[in-house]
């Protein structure tokens, strides 16, 4: 079963929930940190990495000797990543979406697959948790292909927890798509509510059952609860503001280790998710 942890607004506690939930499950679980722009889960779980993979995107390389400047590649490319100018064909690998159009259209087979570095994937273990994350190369704009690559390591025989990036556009979609349940972590503030509404919209486009966790639940106002009520979204857990939690987080410590009573709450959370995921229609 694949559970994705998402939020809309950043800094609401996705990583806290993802890491503590994974640690509460203990064995037979993998955590995929798909927030590849700013992966943080490893700062809390300290996995021992035993494998690093370089991830690249396929980009065109033009063999000048074979190219007859017909311009078909320029014509098919929607992203201005390959352009014929005068008697030369220029490529702009950073604009390429790896659609393969230019290679398919070239009548002389003059375009071959080159590579643009997207980032790396690191794999390892910590306390029985299989840990995998992606790290986008700083300066690289496109995160979805790297996110999809991280997700390709999903193992159907395990619990898979996905730590998703913030927002509601393509990176989040890449992280949540085809997961079995989405946990939306929010905070009871106007910004939290506004971004939650957007996130719920995205989850509904993907047609995945979801539930909410309200973090720092005693700060702010009551509008998030009213919204959850009105939309029939189950509130799976509330985490009140607690300076001990904030300080533990700042140091990279886990709630379930610092305050062991939370272990039970995260185990109950998992049972709750299992029940809702097996009951299609719940939370949608």
């Amino acid at each position: 079963m694949i559970i994705s942890i998402a939020s809309g607004k950043g800094g609401t506690g996705k990583t806290t929930v993802a890491t503590n939930l994974a640690l509460s499950i203990g064995t037979g679980v993998q955590l995929l940190d798909c927030d590849v722009e700013e992966p943080n889960a490893y700062l809390f779980l300290h996995p021992k990495f035993d494998e690093t993979l370089l991830v690249t995107a396929s980009v065109p390389e033009v063999d000048k000797d074979k190219c007859d400047l017909c311009g078909k590649c320029d014509e098919i490319c929607r992203f201005r990543a390959i352009v014929r100018i005068g008697d030369t064909v220029l490529t702009f690998p950073e604009l390429c979406h790896s659609c393969g159009g230019c290679m398919a259209v070239c009548p002389r087979g003059a375009i071959t697959e080159g590579a643009r570095e997207l980032g790396i994937i690191q794999k390892g273990f910590c306390n029985g948790i299989e840990f995998i994350h992606g790290k986008l190369r700083v300066g690289e704009a496109m995160s979805p292909p790297l996110i999809r690559k991280v997700r390709s390591f999903t193992r159907p025989d395990k619990w898979t927890i996905i730590d998703a990036p913030p927002g509601t556009s393509c990176p989040v979609i890449a992280a949540m798509k085809d997961t079995d349940f989405v946990v939306l972590v929010t905070e009871p503030t106007p910004f939290g509510l506004h971004d939650l509404e957007l996130a719920v919209g995205a989850v509904r486009v993907l047609d995945i059952p979801c539930g909410l966790i309200i973090n720092r639940s005693d700060m702010g106002d009551h509008k998030v609860r009213a919204y959850a009520d009105e939309q029939g979204l189950p509130i799976l857990m509330e985490i009140p503001f607690d300076k001990r939690i904030a300080v533990a987080y700042s140091r990279g410590e886990m709630i379930v280790n610092v305050m062991p009573e939370w272990k039970e709450k995260f185990s109950a959370l998992l049972q709750n998710i299992k029940r809702l995921a097996n009951n299609p229609g719940a939370g949608v």
Binding site: H97, A104, P166, T168, S169, F191, L198
Partner: protein, 288 residues
């Protein structure tokens, strides 16, 4: 004219609250919300929308069932697995590359332009504001970011306003890159947590990569003073100015609930004072 972009790497460090507070303090400026994916600045600014425009970008493939002979070429060519075995296009997966459209032997695939969102020019109690709303699950956020920044610049030029205050998105990817290119400076708002520090380091690297001068400030600094010191040391090592720190203060949430900036809500509180000091520092440092 100068543009100051507020970014953070990590989400939830207080970018929008800081931009709102600076809006209370800065004199002649245009506000620009470049976090088009989860825009929040309007919740405090309560803009009166003067102009509303569709944002059109990219295309989506759409198979015409009457013409399709189900030859399967489009499925073979699509690198994004966007075409189902029943020859239906999943608009969420479709990258808009048009390869299927180009090769379809029956010309059975339409390729309409997508409307991916809306953008607005508004008035606020602090002056003009340009903002946008990216459609849910849409792409092209980078293009929309570039568009709102361009429009903000136009207004600043027309009205002779010397400053653009831009609220940036979290992360280091496409929308952030689009937010900082060509900016006068970026202010990185971080927090004293392992993630805050880690993400700040990556976003400093990004600013450096694109040659944009960066400044740092620490929000909620008293949650972990030791970590705050580490962040200051790191900034110093990178020869970046740390323009100040703000204490953890519930006034951030209280003022947000009241749809006010921290400066409007409690100008003389600890957080308000800290924000004023940071703003004065920015004015001096950047010649705003």
């Amino acid at each position: 004219m100068k543009e100051l972009v507020i970014i953070s790497g990590k989400g939830g460090t207080g970018k929008t609250s800081l931009v709102a507070a600076f809006a209370s303090l800065a004199k002649k400026k245009v506000l620009c919300d470049a976090d088009v994916d989860a825009a929040d600045l309007h919740l405090i600014m309560k803009p009166r929308i003067r102009e509303r425009h569709d944002f059109q970008a990219g295309h989506t493939a759409c198979i015409n069932r009457d013409k399709c002979i189900q030859c399967g070429l489009c499925r073979d060519l699509c690198k994004f697995e966007a075409i189902s075995e029943h020859f239906e296009v999943d608009p969420v997966s479709c990258e808009g590359c048009g390869v299927c459209v180009y090769f379809c032997p029956e010309k059975a695939i339409d390729f309409p332009v997508k409307t991916c969102g809306e953008w607005y020019i508004s008035d606020t109690r602090f002056g003009p504001m340009v903002h946008a709303r990216l459609g849910i699950a849409e792409e092209n956020s980078g293009k929309l970011v570039s568009l709102v920044r361009r429009e903000a610049r136009k207004i600043a030029e027309e009205k002779n306003l010397g400053l653009i205050l831009t609220d940036g998105p979290p992360g280091v990817g496409c929308p952030v890159i689009a937010s900082i290119g060509g900016a006068g400076a970026v202010l990185i708002v971080t927090e004293p947590t392992v993630s805050g520090k880690h993400d700040m380091q990556r976003v400093i690297q990004l600013a450096d990569f694109f040659n944009i001068p960066a400044l740092v400030c620490i929000n909620k600094f008293d949650l972990n003073t030791e970590m705050s010191r580490e962040i200051e040391d790191f900034a110093e090592e990178k020869k970046l100015t740390c323009v100040g720190h703000i204490p953890f203060d519930p006034v951030f949430i209280q003022s947000m609930v009241k749809e006010k900036t921290v400066i409007e809500y409690e100008p003389d509180g600890e957080a308000g004072q800290a924000l004023k000091k940071i703003w004065d520092g920015l004015v001096k440092k950047l010649g705003l």
